[in-house]
Amino acid sequence: MNKASENKSSLKFFGIGKMLPFLKKYRGMMAMMVLFGICGSAIDIGTPLLQRYALNHFVGLGTLDTIVPFILIYVGVILFTGVTNYFSALYSLWMEVRLDRDLRNAAFEHLQTLSFSYFNQNSVGYIHARIMSDTSRIGMLFSWTIIDSVWQGAYVIGAIVAMLIVNAKLALLVLAILPLLVVLFSIFQKKLVHINREIREINSKITGNFNEGITGAKTVKTLVIEDRIEHDFKSETDNMLRRSVRAARLRGVFAATMNFASSLALAIVLWRGGFIARSEVGTFSMFMSYAQGMMEPIRWLVDAVFDFVTTQVNIERLTKLLETKPDVNDSAEVVAIYGDSFEPKKENWESLKGDVEFRDVSFKYPDGDEYILEHFDLKIPFGTNVAIVGETGAGKSTLANLVCRFYEPTAGSVLIDGRDARERSQLWLHSAIGYVLQTPHLFSGTVRENLLYAKPDATDEEIERALKLVSADEVVARLEKGLETDVGEGGDMLSTGEKQLISFARAILADPRILVLDEATASVDTITEQKIQRAIDTIIRGRTSIVIAHRLSTVRDADIILVVKDGRIIEQGRHDELLAAHGHYYRLYTRQYEDEATSAFLSKKA
């Protein structure tokens, strides 16, 4: 994603139009927010009037005749302040968190329907920022920024009107400062936005450097580059110091201008309006309050305008996510019969037999321009084990992606039980397919919750059986709280091997007719390795399986072996046929065999 295009705006009115559907629900609340904001502002304008009365009437005339009603009115105003401030704060806060919530839900729900190409093109960090930070920026805009603008705007208007009424000539003199101030503020604000972004970037770089200095400690030591790394780190922190001080100067000048302007307003009132004090001290003091008190709200207003400008980027990015169409779609007819991903119509679902066929499939990835498959035909009847072999990065997962309908063929079709996969819903297919990842992914929660992911209504016996089949029962037995043990974020409380076994049990629990398995290359100890091997043999039995294979045993027994190199299938056949051909498979196999035998031999000795 390039920055220039992100900063350039294409939306009108700060993109507010795009947010209207979300705001509609909160019309009432926003109206209340605005109403109470105006009330609060009215009190702010009114308070100097009360003080004016106290000065003019009590002090000026030297009488306390109306002191009781005055106190009562004042107390009334204080109570009213309490009420308006309570509600304006409450509604703003609720508005913020509720809008946040709705936007997050919308983004999250939409993401559940997007295709894999979207997830391949955008990093997790990028998408995550759309769900969490864009939404919160937008929430702030439509609550606090709005109430601030209303409140401060009303105050400025009220103060101007009040001053004009009391003494138009003096009021105009004071107002003469304003245009200058607005221009100055805008210039400063623009620079501030820029420098603040720079500071944030440097700051995240420094955090990155810490990360690197710590995770790369071994390498730093062996290369003896401590000094160099430190030097580079210091130049980054130097940069941070310089930028921060520059930002402080800017903010300092900004604040100084504002404070000076309000004193200037005071001086003008004193110089040109001092005579008022001769007759009415209260009026004079009120004028001073307004003239001085107007500057801060003006700054808030300028701030608010900039909030609208900067948040526009967030609105744009979020809107872009919400408007992204999935590449893989169920047609309207399919949805009508089978339901969509959130509201399935399970009563119409046929059971799946497990025959898979590639018929004249050509395929290229949406973001690539080279065809990976061309006119590819392959029949995989139920119960067939297919192994896909090749070196790391050779493009072995393509076929698996097509079978799972994570991607659709560019031309030709993938048939499930003799019918084009597109004739039935994605959810129907996914519910009947098992998928085990190379890097097992567990969710935070207990072991049981993770297992139930595959089958929410599984009984304890079913869970037991599944665990036992893949010897994951030993893993669970070792855990302190058994099935109820928390596995931590991403399952990190378990070792890689343990995670793998649990994820096998999870797949088995779903009892899928078709199983897609991406074997891990991660190094685990020999005993775990043997368990995993046995587990794989167990789970592919009696199913149609497509295995992205790294283990010889899995490959050797496969019914069909596909050999992939540079993204293309270059050899295809059974183990002995391919070996006899002395081609790429032969070389891969030999090396793999030697490696495995060597490790097996060495670990047996140990």
Partner: protein, 609 residues
């Protein structure tokens, strides 16, 4: 903990804080001073207004100290000033100019001070971490250390630059306004100040009591964020099990819960805000009413009254902030302890008489034994020697101690006294300066780490001033040249964090190129071709073999083809050297090496088909 220990600990904490404050103390003093001056100037302008209203315009008898009156008389007396109000207006502007200048100096010096403090803390912590022994890094989790270095340092910074300075500023303002207000009217000052402890206390109480509420919100936001993160990283699992609906419901439930927490907290916060507003409103009412009464009784003049109200309103915000400031101060104590944990860990150290001999000669392991902390022995009585310029091959299974031997040679772990010796050129490595030794040993680690810089910077990172030709030569020797040239930016391609944009094999090759560039007299390749495909493996081996004889090379591998040409091969099993000799000797020795040789050569090939 005894009192003495506690005092000792406090002293240490203070010492650490003073160490961090080096270079920023002066700036902090400047910022405090300018804050005080700004507050003073701020207090002057209501006095000018008061004088204008009461004396210049109102023509009443002035009650200022004599020195003030002298100045006024020099300017022509209050009567003259009443006719020429611009002079008083000018005074307001001048005082304002002084005030905003002081505020500006405060802001800039305070930022400069706090950022210098942050920089010192970060630099010191980073440098210290880089010099901590490797065993420390293995013991502590990365995420935890990073948190200590980022958010704990930020907390410390906020404590010093915001909480401390603000509390100081507020106290200065309080004292100054107290003086000014007292000088005008004592009873009214008392009336103004009596409600203040209530306002401060209420805010303090609120912020202490509801801290847990805010923490809950933070925690649940974290949970929600993790949920989104896990959904995104596990998108394949979600889809494959068809659990979109489940995920959506789960997320929405947590989202709802989190929002609910805020809604509840919102109610409490709004109540707090509006109550505070009412409390301060009442305080203002007291001042307005009693002030008016005092004026009528003749205790005060109108201008004094206006000035008094100005002071009072000036104090309102700072007073309301004070409670929060005090409530938040307690966080800093925890943070400094967490940073202190890092700073208290001892750095790697050489004996003071460590030497820097020529690192060229033979490498000898003499009865070396080693165990990691709380682990069974890793190396048991290992002895062997290799001549300078020779190539040594090491074969062994996982956990046989191959890598550990190399860590000991490079002093990543110290070899305890009495557990044997390792000598290079006849010198015990314990006596050699660590950085000197490491600089002469190049290691390609099993899991290479690349830095987030360009590829050429990565290759040349250990030797400054390497020219492009040498970089390219090293890349070619490591078979990385074609790969790099296929990238759009070539050698300027930026390696993503932890080298994510490169595959495992490419990373290994980049690490090999990096080691080759340094051209160290001792080179170690620790299973560094495991992720490289067969053909490339052979090519790199051939290029490495060209270097045999020019440097002492140690090759760790379980591939016979890699080891075969070595001058000497060790077979390691369970921390012991069980066989040693040349390829030709070992392949017929009837041991592990022979068995593996047979597995990997044609002899056993037919058996397996």
């Amino acid at each position: 903990m005894t009192k003495q220990e506690k005092r000792q600990k406090n002293r240490e904490t203070r010492a650490l804080m003073m160490r961090f404050l080096k270079g920023s103390k002066g700036l902090f003093c400047v910022s405090m001073l300018s804050a005080a001056l700004a507050a003073l100037a701020d207090m002057l302008s209501p006095q000018i207004i008061r004088a204008a209203i009461d004396n210049a315009i109102g023509g009443k008898e002035a009650e200022f100290p004599a020195w003030v009156m002298r100045y006024v008389d020099q300017l022509g007396g209050f009567a003259y000033l009443g006719e020429h109000l611009w002079i008083m207006a000018l005074a307001v502007v001048i005082v304002a100019a002084v005030k905003v200048s002081c505020q500006y100096i405060f802001r800039v010096s305070n930022t400069a001070a706090s950022e210098t403090l942050v920089k010192t803390m970060r630099d010191t912590a980073f440098s210290h971490i880089e010099h901590l022994p490797f065993s420390w890094h293995m013991k502590n989790r990365t995420g935890d250390i990073i948190q200590r270095c980022t958010s704990d340092i930020d907390t410390m910074k906020n404590f010093v630059s915001e909480q401390l300075t603000n509390v100081f500023r507020i106290l200065v303002m309080l004292v100054l306004s107290l003086i000014f207000m007292f000088s005008m009217d004592m009873p009214l000052t008392l009336i103004a100040f009596i409600p203040m402890p209530v306002i401060i206390g209420y805010s303090l109480h609120f912020h202490t009591k509801f801290r847990q509420g805010f923490l809950d919100c933070d925690e649940n936001e974290g949970k929600l964020s993790t949920m989104a993160q896990e959904n995104l990283t596990g998108v394949r699992v979600v889809r494959a099990f068809g659990r979109e609906r489940f995920e959506k419901d789960k997320f929405e439930a947590q989202n709802e819960y989190y929002t609910g927490l805020w809604e509840k907290l919102g109610r409490i916060m709004s109540r707090f805000w509006s109550t505070s507003d009412m409390l301060s409103g009442t305080q203002i009412l007291l001042v307005v009413v009693f002030g008016a009464v005092f004026c009528i009784r003749g205790r005060m003049q109108a201008g004094e009254y206006v000035a008094f109200i100005s002071y009072n309103s000036m104090l309102m915000w700072p007073i309301r902030m004070l409670g929060r400031m005090i409530a938040e101060m307690s966080k800093a104590g925890v943070s400094i302890e967490r940073i202190k944990y890092i700073m208290d860990s001892p750095e790697e150290q050489d004996p003071p008489d460590a030497i820097t001999p020529e690192i060229r000669g033979d490498i000898v392991f003499d009865h070396v034994s080693f165990a990691y902390e709380n682990c069974p022995p890793m190396l048991r009585d290992v002895s062997f020697s290799m001549k300078a310029g020779q190539t040594l091959g090491i074969l062994g299974g996982t956990g046989s101690g191959k890598s550990t031997m190399m860590y000991l040679l490079d002093k990543l772990y110290p070899l305890e006294e009495g557990k044997g010796t390792i000598t290079v050129g006849g010198v015990d490595i314990r006596k050699i300066r660590t950085d000197w030794l490491r600089r002469h040993i190049g290691i390609v680690l099993q899991e290479p780490f690349l830095f987030s810089r360009t590829i050429s910077e990565n290759i040349a990172i250990a030797c400054d001033g390497t020219d492009m030709t040498s970089i390219k030569a090293a890349a070619a020797a490591a078979c990385l040249d074609e790969t790099v040239e296929s990238f759009a930016k070539g050698y300027d391609t930026f390696v993503g964090e932890r080298g994510v944009t490169l595959s495992g094999g490419q990373k290994q090759r980049a690490a090999i190129a990096r080691t080759l560039t340094s051209n160290t007299p001792i080179m170690i390749f620790d299973d560094s071709l495991s992720a490289v495909d067969t053909e490339t493996d052979a090519k790199i081996r051939a290029r490495l073999e060209e270097r045999f004889g020019t440097a002492s090379i140690i090759l760790i591998s379980h591939r016979i083809t890699t080891l075969a040409k070595a001058d000497k091969i060790l077979v390691l099993e369970d921390g012991r050297v069980v066989e040693q000799g040349t390829h030709d000797e070992l392949k017929r020795a009837g041991g592990i090496y022979q068995s593996i040789y047979e597995i990997q050569s044609g002899t056993a090939k037919e058996a397996r088909v």
